[in-house]
């Protein structure tokens, strides 16, 4: 099934990403070993010049990876028509054992890429490249992740056979089945919404605190990660029910379908964006005291915090809107 245009495109993106990741990792090792800003040696100058190339290439590829994550899910949803038993992306991803691992890999790569892009952005603010070593150490962590994701994706697409019967989302996200997806589905709606509200409160409090004092971004990142988890839990256990107006349909993928006005993207785009920013802020927070960053950094962090808060708020607002608009009555 590899001759399918979106699949060819996804494979192209992961091949490019793998290539750039391997090369950047090789370069990262030499940066970690030889980087010495005080030196005026030719080798150091070359390294400094080359960091510009690596930053540009890595940023380009990571942006493509972010687009590929959405393309991957969108395409999985579209391909459901080709598999007996599949009704949305879940069926397609379930068509073999590599589908969901590939998705998780893509999500992990997306967040790792976002953190790296924030590090890179901040590093460029300082005159003396204060985060270069940190940045390239991070490349050494991200590169294997990108390679693993690419390999999982390739294995998934190569093993995709349309003559098998797969399971649809109603089979996976049901309290009667064993696994994490059904445990999420089985959570009491009131509890899930309360957890989301609590996580929202924590995010707001830590965000406002960070905005006011210019500190505590690590806490904000933690709260953001918590909000991400609570948001997914609430989506599977409660919000999805309101979208479908059906008390038994818990699928977090069907909301991406045109039948529901693509509303899923209004949930996931701000959520993923905000979480990525929050994690990036957390990764940068230990370095706020660096001399060269003291002046330019606070303004940037302030801006990123505001964007992240806006993203989390957007998720909450869409949730409230969906519940208010729905004809389903779960409480009372």
């Amino acid at each position: 099934m590899i001759f399918h245009t979106p699949i060819l495109t996804l494979l192209l993106v992961s091949a490019l990403a793998a290539l750039v990741a391997v090369w950047s990792a090789g370069f990262g090792i030499s940066v970690l070993r030889h980087w010495d800003l005080s030196s005026g040696a030719r080798g150091q100058l070359l390294l400094e010049r080359r960091t510009e190339l690596v930053s540009t290439l890595f940023a380009l590829v990571m942006a493509a990876e972010a687009a590929a994550l959405f393309l991957f899910v969108f395409n999985a949803d579209r391909m459901a028509a080709l598999f007996v038993g599949a009704m949305c992306a879940v069926g397609t991803l379930n068509a073999n054992g590599y589908g969901f691992p590939a998705l998780y890999g893509q999500i992990a790569s997306f967040f790792a890429a976002a953190v790296w892009l924030v590090l890179d952005h901040v590093d460029r603010l300082g005159r003396d490249y204060p985060l270069t070593r940190v940045k390239y150490a991070a490349v050494l962590v991200i590169a294997p992740l990108v390679l693993l994701t690419g390999a999982l994706q390739l294995a998934y697409f190569l093993n995709l056979r349309s003559d098998i019967i797969t399971s649809c989302c109603s089979k996976l996200f049901t309290p009667a089945n064993a696994g994490i997806s059904d445990e999420m589905a089985a959570v009491d709606p009131a509890l899930a919404l309360a957890a989301l509200a609590l996580a929202g409160g924590l995010v707001l409090a830590s965000g406002v605190q960070a905005l006011r004092t210019g500190r505590g971004h690590g806490l904000f990142a933690l709260a953001g990660a918590g909000y991400f988890g609570a948001a997914l839990l609430a989506m599977v256990s409660t919000i999805a029910l309101y979208v479908y107006e059906n008390p038994n349909h818990h699928c977090p993928f069907c909301i991406l379908k045109p039948d529901y006005g693509y509303i899923g993207y209004a949930f996931y785009l701000p959520l993923f964006g905000a979480t990525a920013l929050a994690l990036g802020l957390g990764a940068v927070s230990p370095f706020t005291a660096r001399n060269s960053l003291r002046t330019p950094l606070p303004a940037v962090m302030r801006r990123l915090t505001l964007w992240a808060l806006a993203g989390f708020a957007a998720y909450g607002a869409v949730t409230v809107w969906v519940i208010a608009r729905s004809n389903l009555i779960l409480f009372g």
Binding site: H4, T5, F70, F74
Partner: protein, 379 residues
């Protein structure tokens, strides 16, 4: 200067720089747009064929039951009808009569069918024709009868009740609708025999259960659901599109190599420009950003131009370049217009597929020229 203002200034400068090298820029955009056009045409065409197949199949029966003998389809007896109708959830079972007729005069294959609605049923001795049949037989005037010859020395005359319009051509171009009695005598089909059975099921979700029950009652039969047919068409068109895209992608790679080569061999004027910019205080980063804007403008322009041209080619001109490969080929072929079917997935895929290789191919040469010392570039 805020980041936004910086980029606005860079964009402004880049547009002016591109306008100074108008001919070179336009040539690059034209070649790139041609590659995008190739890929986009293949994708648009296949997508609208898929949509067409989907729309066509919406009217197909929920389930078709065929009788098999020695692994081949044979006529099915009428005794199967009550057996299927007795299954709970089945709302109707109808025997269908249809077959193919090879016309020795022009080498075309016609589909001969007994219509399932009374409104379409021609009177005895008459037929209703699809739009391509009179065209192929070159009927000059109204009232020309249709003579069909089954073998040497045989000639059967049918009067033409009417001809179907072109709006249903995709389905009915090669169609000959006949009365049941005429059909049975023309093809020598005994009473109580049908080509296959069309089963309608009240709830489509129960289809698999109905098939499971029917398999027990008619173990020799083959059951084809509408979803099976739709899936087969989807796969066929997907595969054809994929092959075309893979071929067009080779062209894209060739273009990427061309673009990389072009970007690495800076003209003397461009090298001087970069040298001056760096001498007056531009950073390597600024030059890279400017060059990336340049690449973005070129690939964005080429993407827009190529996509619009492909749209016109496929949906207005009927895709003359690709039709034979993607549609398939036959002596008798319907004339039909494609309905535009474009969505975000297609456009997103196309954008990534075309702009990413270009960007990747030009980044290294861009960096090389941007990172060089001003005196080295200008020397």
């Amino acid at each position: 200067m805020t980041a936004l203002n910086r980029h606005r200034a860079l964009l402004d400068f880049t547009v002016a720089a591109l306008a100074r090298r108008r001919v070179k820029t336009l040539a690059l955009v034209a070649v790139f747009a041609a590659v995008v056009f190739l890929l986009a045409s293949a994708m648009f065409f296949a997508a609208s064929l898929r949509r067409e197949a989907e729309a066509t199949l919406a009217g197909a029966p929920d389930l078709i039951v065929q009788s098999l003998s020695l692994g081949r389809q044979t006529m099915i007896g009428a005794e199967a009808v009550p057996q299927l109708a007795a299954i709970r959830g089945v709302t109707g079972v109808e025997g269908r009569l249809w077959g193919y007729f090879y016309d020795r005069i022009n080498g075309a294959n016609y589909t001969v069918m007994v219509p399932d609605t009374a409104a379409m049923m021609p009177p005895p001795g008459q037929v209703i024709l699809g739009e391509a049949v009179p065209r192929l037989r070159d009927f000059k005037w109204q009232g020309t009868p249709l003579f069909l010859s089954r073998r040497e020395g045989d000639l059967v005359r049918f009067d033409i009740a009417r001809t179907l319009g072109t709006e249903t051509a995709l389905l009915s171009a090669d169609l000959i609708l006949m009365n049941e009695a005429d059909f049975r005598s023309f093809f020598n089909v005994p009473a109580g025999q049908f080509t296959d059975l069309a089963v309608s099921v009240r709830n489509p979700r129960e289809l698999s259960t109905v098939v499971a029950k029917a398999t027990i009652r008619l173990p020799e039969a083959r059951f084809v659901t509408r979803a099976d047919i739709a899936r087969t068409y989807q796969k066929l068109f997907d595969w054809r599109e994929g092959v075309m895209v893979a071929l067009a992608f080779v062209a894209l790679l060739a273009f990427a190599i061309f673009a990389a080569d072009k970007a690495s061999g800076l003209s003397a004027e461009e090298a001087r420009e970069i040298g001056i910019l760096k001498a007056i205080g531009w950073d390597t980063r600024d030059v890279i950003a400017m060059k990336l804007w340049e690449g973005g403008l070129i690939s964005g322009g080429a993407f827009l131009l190529g996509t619009v041209l492909a749209y016109a080619h496929v949906f207005w001109a009927g895709a003359p370049l690709f039709a034979p490969l993607l549609k398939g080929w036959a002596v008798i072929y319907p004339e039909f217009r494609l309905t535009p079917a474009i969505d975000a997935l297609q456009l997103g895929t196309l954008f990534l597929l075309t702009t990413l290789p270009y960007a990747a191919a030009t980044v290294v040469p861009v960096w090389r020229s941007a990172a060089a010392d001003p005196d080295a570039v200008m020397r």
